[in-house]
Each structure stands twice: as structure tokens, then as C-alpha cells.
Point group: C2
Chain length 387, copies 2
């Protein structure tokens, strides 16, 4: 078991009607609020109006239009400008993980005199950040309970994950009812995203019985409840459990003491999204079983066997290699069964830039130190298999 | 799924050599430190000396001699007096859960002008508390990652659990090596304590697939690693995993969204400890299977079946009542196998005060609202069965 230093100070206010506590939570911060959101779905479900009605004493400055795979330019830069010009005291992020990730970059950038890209690329360590409160409307990324975010810079094909202890949300409001209107495609992407977060931490060298059990529970719960959410989008209980599962995805609690895995599928998917701006969860679902196939070996076989038996209920009496193969097939079949297009071509990606992306990943993502080290040609193989 | 409001802000610094970060952590607080500890085992293992050597710039005021089932008088009162007289800035608790529980009561009492008992009994809500840092030497109670404590008052036979958000430790140092010298009896008590924390949260009406899986993993891991700790007290990996398991016991993370269970075994055990000052974990181990037997019914049967199959690997093809019975027997057998005396008589408790204790519990612990409500006569039955 590895040493670790862990803290997640975020307060979770979870459940139907949770937002009633918003005025009291926000009272702790100053008067000027940067309200960040996406394409306007929060207006359609009436959440935007409710938030404004709950905060009559605040001065609200708005940053709308934050896109999926949130962009450095214009969103982060515009948000930082608004914070500095208006002397913003707190950021209120209302939306999914992309809005929140963008808000985190703004929170740090607002307290820094130079180019915020310096912080995202760790050229400069952030010294302060504005506090963040979020109201989540999409169960997927886990950003509501972690200190990280992912920002894309279109002109350089960069999609960079950064994190800093300063960036834990102070409070996350999680009301499963706000996810009732999430489309089937986005719900499936959320399921795949959280499943992959778990898989990335489960497949590593040094794990514990405890963490393995946590991860296996996450995967079983995400599959069962995710399916229910797709069948009946207003199934409160299923939406609630899926939302809680997603919350645990990225703050490390599933893998305290495990050896680092390198998060290889994320490394690969970030390049796909950076080059082609695809839906993150779909990209992960497509990459994951191909990556599994690539890393299956005598060394990794016991992990696959455990995964197959405990997550998919595969008969433990079968020969180990067959259990492993069935586990990989079951992973693929599950993602396909929830309606995810399982080939990159369906998302508009062809072989033309495979080598370029593989090179970008090999240079920038350090996958030579992953659980199973991946060379540039391994990465290209995985992407090609995924086309 | 129930609504919840959850936050555990404590930072965990875990692993061999973790204490190297102590000076940096303590530098954040003022100069005057109340060092709390127990019977002196921290001197035998050299930890006391190491702590002093790491904090040459601090003014250390000592409160030694804190007992298991820590006492209001003298420990809490004496600690509060020392804090007030010396203007203590921070409490450094070095020891097990009893030392830490006592330190929490002191932390709150030091910032209150009246009788600290007012705070422990919720007559007055604490407005402030001194910050707490702890170095744990015993894996058991989970106090290092929760906001609660249990304090005993001998003259009134009270053993009261209290909690307050102000009382989360700021930082908990968890070095499994400090638990190498814990005796077999205390190790077994720690295993039983953490297992019971999990069982108390698992047996309830409204649960989730996710939480059930977390709890089942906890129990499997505690049994497997606990046994290894007993066989080889210096098995670092087993001590480490057991230590991490115990940490999750009481801060609520195993049961977010579950309906409340009432923690019935704790309610009963607290009275046993208050009247007879027995080892908490042993008391819990003795009570648990008798309580299980008492609450087994058509309504609770499915919980027992799930518990039996997923925790003890009992054949799911057996008839449900048989699975349940075997699960209860396996619980008893496990505790017995790790050397816990499984009858209260072995701890010096006989029938004489059973009715008195049952009355005390019925009046003070609210078990009429537990998962399975328990009347005064039910409680007396459970204690009598445990004799």
C-alpha cells in the first residue's frame, strides 16, 4: 500500500429541494457573484430563474455559453476578465462538469496577474483562487467533488487536465431532479465517464481488497442505475444513485493507497476531444475495451479475472483467459447497449490524424509510466482499433 | 434515497513516515500545544520522543493518562482547565480513539465559559473549538475522520456520544507502523468496532447498491486483514488496510442517502461500558449477533440474506432463512475466532443490573425509532442473551 495525502473539503448538499439552502450558503461570501452556465438548458428547466429569485441581494454577473470540452478562449479568458473588472467575490457554477471545470480555471485565473494558461500548464503555481459553489445538472465528471478541471485550447489541439487544492468547490448542490431532462445520449456519456473513472483506478498494480470492492460496487451500481435512468429518465432513485456514484469518480477516494495507474484512456481520449471535439464519455467508452484488449497479458490477467467475476458475474470456474475475454466483451456490449456509438468513425474521426494524435499523446501524457506502459505505436494501435 | 448534507474536511496523511510532515502542519497553528495521550505506550514506542523532537519551537503542555472510555472527570475537565490557563492554540492528540474523543470534548470546552457537559449533552451548541491534529496509534473508532466523540461520566453511568461539525480533526496522521505493538486483544477489539460500525449502517430500511457494496467490502477487508494483523502484528500491508477501513467507519460515507438505522448495538454497548467500563469493541462483538437474532424476521430477512451471501460467501441457493441463520452464526464465529470473549460474564457482567441498564437505554437512546424498533424488554432480552 502506497502512502497518500488526501483531503476533500467540499460540502455536498444532496437531494430533492437541496437548493433551498442556497441563500444561506451564499450569504457566507461577498455580494458579487459570477454566474457561469452553458447553452441555456438551465433556463428551460427553470433553474436559472430559481437561482436569481433565491439571491435577490447579490449582484450577479453572467458568463453564459460555456461549451462542452470548455474552451480557454473565449470562456476562461472572458470569465477572468469579468471577475477582475467587477471584483467578483464568488463563482456560482450552474450546469455540468464542463461549466464547473471552466469555473475552476476562472477561479484561479482571477487571482493571478499573468496569463491564466501559466496556471493550467503548471508553469506557475496558483497562490489563491476565488471560492466556488456549484449546482450540478449532469451526473458524469465528478468535478463537483474534486480539485481538477479539463480545459481545451483549440488552436494548439491541447486538452489539459489540471488540478490544485485551491479548486475544490466549497459547496456542491446535487439535486437528482435537475438531471431528469438530460438526453439519453448525454446520460449514457455520463455513465461511461464515471465507469471509466473507476476502471482507470481499478486497473493498476498495487490495490487493496477494500478499494477493489469500492470500485466493483461503483461499476455494478452505475450499470444497473444507469440503465434505469435511460429507461425512465424521471426515476428519482436511479438518478440519485447514479449522481452519487459519479461524485466519487475523480477525487481519489476509490483508490487511496493504490499505485498510480496513469489514467491511460483519459490520456488518449483527451487528444481525440482536442482534435475532434467529440463527447468525452463516448470517446472513453470507445477507447476502453480496445485499451483493455491491448493490455491483456499474463501479468494483467488476474485483474481482468477479478473484474469479470465481480463486476459482470462471469462464472469463476471458466478458464482465466476466457473470463478475461468475456469481461472485455461485456464491457463493450454494455456501452453498446446503452446506445453509445462504438466506433470513432461514427463521430467523424478517420485514420488521417491517428499518427499525429498518437505522437501528441506519447509526448505529452507520460503513458510510458502507466500501469501497462504504452508506446507511441501502442497508442496508435488502440486508436486504429477504435476507428 | 434520503437527502443528506455531508462534509468531512479532515486531511489524512497516511503511511510509513507520514509524521515527517508534522512540523509543517503544526506551523500553521500558534505556539501553544496541548499534547494529549493515554497510558504511556507512546513513550514505549518512541513516538512521544519523536513528536517533541519534531516540535522544538512549540510550547508543549501535557495531558497524559487519558483512559479507554475517556472520562469527563478528570480528563475533559483537566484538559479544559489547561487550555484556558495556558491559552492553548491547538490540541495534538497522540494515541487511539479514546484520546482523540477526549481531545474533541476539550477542544469545544476550551472555547466555552460554562460547564463543558452542557456541550456534550447539547444543552448548549458549541460556537467555536480549538483546532485538533492527531497521530493515531490504534485502528478502531474512526474518530480520526469524523466529528464525534464518546465521553463517560462515572457517577451517573452516562456514556454519551456527541458530535459537532467544529470537531473534525484538521489533520490526521495515520502511520500503520504505530499499530504494530497493539496487543492481540486490542487489535481484535478494533476489528470488531469497525465491523460493527459498518453493520450498524448496513442494516437499515433504505439503502443503495453502492453503499451496500461499500459496506460489504469493508467487512470482507476487515475480516481478512484483521486476521493477518493478529497472525503477524508487523504485517505492514494488513495493518495499513485495516487502518484505512477503520477510518471510514463513522463519518457517514458508507451510508450517504441511507435511512437512519439508530445504531442499536452502540446504544446498548454504551450502557454496558458506562456501568462496567468494558472494552468497547468486545462489548459490540458480544451484542451484535444477539441483536441480529432478535431482529431477524420476515421483514429483515432479505438484508440478512444479502449480508450472508456477499460478506461470508454463503451459497445463494440455500433457503433464505438458512442463509440468514448461517450469516448470524458466521458473525459470532468470526468474533470468537479472533479471540474475543463472547459472553458478558467473561467481562464480569452478570444479571444483576440488566433491567436497570435496559431501562437506562430505553429512556436515553431512542431505540423505538431504530431500523427495527427495540422496546425496553427487547433490550433486556438482548443483554440477557449476551451474558
Amino acid at each position: 500500500m502506497q502512502n497518500f495525502d488526501y483531503q476533500t473539503p467540499t460540502r455536498l448538499i444532496f437531494g430533492k429541494g437541496a437548493i433551498a439552502k442556497l441563500p444561506r450558503v451564499m450569504a457566507r461570501f461577498g455580494k458579487k457573484v459570477l454566474l457561469t452556465y452553458g447553452g441555456g438548458s438551465i433556463k428551460k428547466i427553470g433553474l436559472y430563474q430559481k437561482v436569481l429569485a433565491l439571491l435577490p441581494d447579490k449582484e450577479i454577473i453572467e458568463l453564459p455559453g460555456i461549451q462542452p470540452n470548455p474552451k480557454y478562449d473565449p470562456s476562461v479568458l472572458e470569465g477572468v476578465r469579468l471577475c477582475k473588472e467587477n471584483g467578483v467575490d464568488v463563482i456560482l457554477s450552474v450546469g455540468g462538469g464542463s461549466v464547473l471545470d471552466c469555473s475552476k480555471a476562472i477561479a484561479a485565473g482571477a487571482c493571478y496577474d499573468g496569463d491564466p494558461w501559466d496556471l493550467i500548464t503548471y508553469k506557475v503555481k496558483a497562490k489563491a483562487a476565488l471560492p466556488i459553489v456549484d449546482i450540478l445538472t449532469l451526473a458524469a465528471t465528478g468535478s463537483e467533488y474534486d480539485a481538477g478541471g479539463v480545459i481545451s485550447r483549440t488552436e494548439t489541439n491541447d486538452k489539459i487536465g489540471y488540478q490544485d487544492r485551491l479548486l475544490y468547490p466549497a459547496v456542491s448542490f446535487l439535486d437528482p431532479e435537475y438531471t431528469f431532462t438530460v438526453s439519453k445520449g448525454q446520460t449514457a456519456a455520463g455513465i461511461a465517464d464515471a465507469m471509466n473513472h473507476t476502471i482507470e483506478q481499478y486497473f493498476t498494480e498495487d490495490t487493496t481488497l477494500l478499494n477493489d470492492g469500492f470500485c466493483e460496487s461503483m461499476l455494478r451500481s452505475l450499470m444497473k442505475n444507469g440503465r434505469k435512468c435511460l429507461e425512465n429518465p424521471e426515476d428519482y432513485t436511479a438518478r440519485a444513485e447514479m449522481m452519487l456514484c459519479c461524485t466519487y469518480g475523480c477525487n481519489g477516494i476509490l483508490a487511496l493507497g493504490n499505485s498510480p495507474s496513469g489514467w491511460p484512456c483519459h490520456a488518449i481520449e483527451h487528444a481525440l476531444s482536442a482534435y475532434y471535439d467529440i463527447t468525452h464519455g463516448w470517446g472513453l467508452a470507445i477507447i476502453t475495451p480496445r485499451w483493455m484488449k491491448k493490455i491483456l497479458s499474463e501479468r494483467t490477467l488476474p485483474r481482468f479475472v477479478k473484474y469479470g467475476i465481480n463486476v459482470f458475474g462471469i462464472d469463476p470456474k471458466l478458464p482465466a483467459p476466457e473470463i478475461a475475454q468475456r469481461a472485455i466483451d461485456a464491457t463493450y456490449a454494455f456501452f453498446q447497449s446503452i446506445g453509445i456509438p462504438m466506433h470513432l468513425r461514427e463521430l467523424g474521426i478517420d485514420e488521417r490524424r491517428v499518427e499525429e494524435m498518437a505522437h501528441h499523446i506519447a509526448v505529452n501524457e507520460g503513458l510510458d509510466e502507466a500501469y501497462v506502459p504504452l508506446s507511441e505505436s501502442d497508442i496508435a494501435d488502440i486508436i486504429r482499433e477504435s476507428l
